[in-house]
């Protein structure tokens, strides 16, 4: 017996809605709290009523406060500068390295590839302390450069580009060589345009990584001119008048850019991962 398609889709929809409740409910509560006049955090959480999720008086006062009084706009701008600079540099150097590893035989290739694999298995948090000592000795601490440069070299990004470029037929490159195109032109005009999905994947990954990092910016910068979003949010939590309203509104505002980026790049993102051979 086969169930009709409508019943099947209906069941699927119900199951998916139930799962999304798990993800949405905490977020909905935070969002509605951020739109409420500042007051007791738990006022509407217990007991549970419809007011828990739908504020009776909506106000943007909490958002006005973080942007005007607490300069959250500057933190947003700083995070955007750091994230986009890292994304651009990382896409550039990783795709170049991926190209060399995918299409060339050269002396030392195995060593380079081993370094790439090691660095993508070593997560960032484990090297923060020696990294700080290094960055300080280069006199880069407390600057945008300190926030940007450690995120540029990325083993996983290089690996993704390498896998993607391997799918590009060699004949295409040979033909271009016949027409006396330089390798730089081949890379820029033939390879980059066909690997948009790989670029989108690396853009999303690198952007999220930089946008969400807290530990490194806390260690590497100390003047408020370089305060990034996560540091600003963390500071909102620890200021003397611990105001949940500030924390929640800055959490919501600070999460908007990656969500928007992902929404637009989601199609490429999935294609990019499947084009890299990681997934089978």
């Amino acid at each position: 017996m086969k169930k009709s398609k409508g019943v099947k889709n209906g069941t699927l929809f119900v199951v998916l809605s139930a799962i999304s409740a798990f993800f949405i409910i905490p977020l909905a509560w935070i969002l509605s709290s951020s739109l409420r006049p500042a007051g007791s955090l738990y006022q509407y959480a217990n007991p549970l009523t419809w007011r828990t999720f739908f504020p009776s008086a909506i106000t943007l006062e909490n958002y006005r406060k973080i942007f005007v009084d607490l300069l959250f706009g500057r933190a947003l701008a700083n995070s955007l500068i750091v994230s986009f600079a890292t994304v651009i540099l990382s896409v550039l150097v990783s795709s170049m390295a991926g190209f060399a590893l995918a299409k060339f035989k050269f002396r030392g290739k195995n060593i380079v590839f081993a370094i790439v694999l090691i660095t993508f298995m070593v997560p960032f948090e484990s090297i923060v302390i020696p990294l700080y000592v290094l960055v300080r000795s280069m006199r880069l601490d407390n600057s945008f450069a300190a926030l940007i440069v450690p995120g540029v070299g990325n083993g996983l990004a290089i690996f993704l580009f390498k896998q993607f470029f391997e799918e590009v037929p060699n004949e295409l490159l040979e033909a271009a060589r016949m027409d006396a195109a330089s390798w730089l032109r081949i890379y820029a005009q033939i390879l980059l345009p066909v690997c948009m999905p790989a670029i989108a994947t690396v853009v999303v990954m690198t952007f999220m990584f930089q946008w969400n990092s807290l530990f490194w910016p806390l260690v590497a910068t100390h003047s408020s001119a370089f305060e990034v979003v996560q540091v600003a949010i963390a500071t909102n939590r620890v200021t003397e008048d611990t105001s949940w309203a500030n924390l929640f509104s800055s959490a919501i505002a600070g999460s908007a850019p990656p969500v928007i980026l992902f929404f637009f790049l989601q199609k490429y993102f999935i294609k990019g991962i499947s084009g890299t051979g990681i997934t089978g």
């Binding site: 390295a97 299409k103 370094i115 997560p123 540029v152 992902f262």
Partner: protein, 288 residues
Amino acid sequence: MFKSNKTAWLFVSPALAFLLIFKIWPIGVSFFESFMQTSFSGKRSFVGMENYSYLFLHDPTFWNSVKVTFVFSLLVNPITLFVSLTMALLLNEKHFFTKFFRTVFFLPTAISFSVVAVIFAVVLDPYNGLANSFLKLAGMNSQPFFGSANQSLWCVILLCVWRSAGYWMMYFLAGLQGIPQTIYEAAEMDGANGLHKLFRLTLPLLTRTTSFVLVSNTAFNFLMFAPVYIITQGGPRGSTNLLMYESYTSAFVIADMGRASTITSILLIVIMTFSFLELRLTKAKFEY
């Protein structure tokens, strides 16, 4: 394959420079520091394996952290894998609502771990938190959550699954899209039902994705830090004292850099070994 040492090195060297300076060098320093000890007068000296032997032989706090970290890893990784794979399987077919749910499941990934930690701290508040309001509504008793040594680690696990499942779902979706539809059509001709198709076709064909997700997620979770730092500070009674947090307290609270570097070095070795073993066991072929 083309042959040109000069061109290849020109293309590879910028990335290589970044990796060597900002990744390989700090890793090396971290290992080096694990063989050093700084005395109270600030004098540094080479102590060989002493940091390691002290940890292994005389440090019950360290062993408790090892235990907690392993229990945490053994639970959080399979659960995350199961949840993200299930969500991907449910969202693989195209419906008018697919894109909406994909975005919803991915939403938590866009929020930083520190913010997620704050959200969970208030949602799971033992007195007035949202979770207890729901329990009360269902006629159940309030729970202490992060306040209890028995529940605390489970709450950290829940938090990690909530944050990461949507991210790994994307990798499974990508893997599923790589499976050609014709394989299923052939199986249907042979009379395979839904469960057959799932266990005989889909899951075996997803092996490479699964091993990639497992390896990356394991490495990531070994270094879990923010929720412990923000919510529990390792407690109650050491029940959430993950190794990364123990390393942090060594470095920044009791200023014992030798001990901190030793713990980080052990973590690095364990992560590398785990990644290697998992890749071997699942026979993932990362071709050169």
